[in-house]
């Protein structure tokens, strides 16, 4: 019973224990805030990638593309897990703004708008045509002109608040887009002896704000058929670079991707004799996570690195607790002697101080987690206030493509941080306690007599 009573009494009647609780709470607060914000950023980024690239992608890295994509989509439509599928062309081209004469080499993406808005979250990224996304390639001022959707960061300035300075009207800007058509063998198409290039003018019909800075700063979206024609992929066996696939709600993405992979292998097995069958060799079937691994992985690595850095914060907590307990126990050596004279075992004395450490760790964790949650709930309004008053931003929105600071305070994460803090306290308390109980009772009592 003494091992319950004494820790409680030591806790409430020694100010130093309050300092220990504050040290733990502060460490927990920092770890929770940083980890949940970082976790939020990573999840937000992953979610944006998922929305933009659908559930599963059948694609090739080759600019030549692959044929029979429509036939494969027809096969997919017979399955019970397909919600929709959309063929896509990925390529590069020269884009020249006809009004200013400025030009740049940019990524071009050809999409079948009707099918693409069903398959991906493209509709939500539009500004002018967000209510009628299927009209995205029809400029409001003249629906008959061929339209193009431009990545938002290519055209619109991002303010420090993270908002874009969208024009209230759709300007009539035109772009001359030039592509270099490739033959199915991968060589540049020729007319006679000269290399050929296809050019066509498109009119700015909307902008795309996917939240993925790299895409929003480098991609121009064109109607699928137009880009297919510009790239010379509209041959008798038309080609595309990818098929984006959305599964029905509730379907397991990994399992369905596996089914698509089996279907694809079966499909190309049956098309072995097709003249362009060699183009199937570079095609892979991946779920969105695997497809975007190259982009997501660095961010996850950053998160891992932060976790490691904050593991160091945890070590510092252990050290702080060690020092505080060293101080507490060095002032308690007489009490340890008294307890021994009353017949308390060494283990019993260790229990007293470990219970005290648990109490400190538990209360510190609870206070740290609750104050971190309170801070996180108000993090955006707090940042807004700091920005209004002092012009301070945690992330400069002119540089970072995030709106509000995201955070993901998952219960398992909070529980893990809390458990680690308690474990850190127990570890920090254990060494000085073991050191203290090893001392002889008479030595301690005699020293305190002198």
């Amino acid at each position: 019973m003494y091992d319950v009573l004494l820790p409680i009494k030591f806790f409430f009647r020694r100010r130093i224990t309050i300092l220990a609780v504050l040290a733990v709470a502060l460490s927990v607060f920092i770890v929770v805030v940083v980890m949940t914000v970082m976790h939020g950023l990573v999840l937000d980024f992953r979610e944006k990638n998922h929305i933009f690239f659908s559930d599963c992608i059948v694609s090739t890295d080759s600019l030549v593309g692959f044929s029979l994509y429509e036939e494969f989509i027809t096969q997919l439509e017979k399955t019970d897990f397909l919600e929709s599928a959309s063929p896509v062309i990925h390529t590069f081209g020269l884009v020249e703004a006809e009004t200013s004469g400025r030009n740049a080499a940019l990524d071009l993406m050809g999409i079948d708008i009707d099918r693409h808005v069903k398959t991906t979250g493209f509709a939500d990224s539009l500004y002018y045509r967000s209510d009628e996304p299927t009209l995205a390639f029809e400029p409001e001022y003249d629906a008959n002109r061929p339209g193009c959707v431009v990545g938002i960061d290519l055209l619109v300035d991002r303010q420090r608040t993270g908002q874009y300075s969208q024009l209230s009207y759709l300007p009539m800007w035109s772009y001359l887009i030039t592509c270099f058509p490739l033959t199915p063998k991968g060589t540049l198409a020729k007319v006679g002896t000269a290399l050929t290039a296809n050019s066509r003018t498109f009119y700015y019909s909307d902008n795309c704000n996917s939240g993925l800075a790299k895409l929003d700063g480098s991609v121009v979206y064109l109607p699928f058929n137009d880009l297919q024609s510009l790239c010379g992929m509209d041959t008798p066996s038309p080609r595309a670079n990818a098929v984006y696939i959305k599964f029905k709600q509730g379907c397991d993405i990994e399992a369905c991707t596996q089914k698509v992979s089996v279907l694809w292998k079966d499909f190309i097995g049956r098309k072995k004799d097709f003249p362009l069958a060699n183009l199937f060799d570079t095609v892979s079937v991946q779920d969105w996570k695997a497809y975007r691994r190259g982009t997501i992985a660095p961010m996850e690595k950053e998160q891992t690195m932060l976790i490691l850095l904050f593991a160091l914060v945890g070590l510092i907590t252990v050290f702080i607790i060690f020092v505080i307990f060293y101080m507490i126990i060095s002032r308690k050596s007489r009490d340890i002697g008294i307890l021994k004279s009353l017949g308390v075992s060494k283990l019993g004395i260790v229990r007293v101080f470990l219970h005290l450490a648990f109490l400190i760790g538990f209360l510190g964790s609870v206070i740290g987690i609750l104050s971190a949650l309170l801070f996180l709930v108000n993090i955006n309004s707090l940042e807004g206030w700091l920005f209004d008053k002092f012009g301070f931003q945690m992330w400069n929105r002119e540089i970072y493509a995030i709106g509000e600071i995201p955070y993901q305070a998952k219960p398992y994460l909070l529980a893990a941080v809390g458990i680690c803090a308690v474990a850190a306290c127990l570890l920090g308390a254990l060494l000085p306690t073991l050191n203290a109980v090893r001392k002889k009772c008479v030595d301690v009592l005699r020293v305190n007599q002198l």
Partner: protein, 234 residues
Amino acid sequence: MTYKNDYILSCRDIYKSYPMGATKLEVLKGANLSITRGEFVAIRGASGSGKSTLLHILGALDMPDRGDVFFEGKDIDSFSARQANEFRNKKIGFVFQFYHLLDELTVLENVLLARMAHSSAVDWLACSAPAKSRAHQLLGELGLSERIAHRPFQLSGGERQRVAIARALMNQPDVILADEPTGNLDSQTGSGILEIFEKLHSVNQTVVMVTHDEKIAARAQRVIRLADGRILTT
């Protein structure tokens, strides 16, 4: 090993030394002592003569370099750690010169601590009521009824020593070992503490008291003189 069962506490050829740098300070050099149940014994000696060391060895707070200590004929050196803890808790009650009360606990809690030391939380639920009743009774007998909720720093020296005596008596020990119990008190208050020991002796409680003061030692039933690490007279 057993030895002279008619003594409650005895020791034979006790040697004890402490390291002092490269040399050893020999404190006890073959001390022999026997105490019968119900005796009030004073161990008197000059400062540094080894009286406190002998008391600690008798109470199993310290171990001799050589020699044997017997409690009711049993060699306490043969006790396991658990048995030694139980021996200190149930058979011996210590009273120290500097009281050694826990500052964070109230008077009542300090007294109850002796009982708690060998009770789990579950046991305590069953025995807390009689334990509290005994603690109240002891504190009442020692004139501390009004002080049970106070903490040690709120008490006078004499009151603190009476709390320490109540704690020592809490588990109805066979022997009270008191190390200079009046050493930190004025003569009047010290005399009050000695009266308590005399009363305890009158009800057949064994008390072994260490003191350097001849007058205080004279109030005991028997005086043992310790000099140069040996018992000189009994």
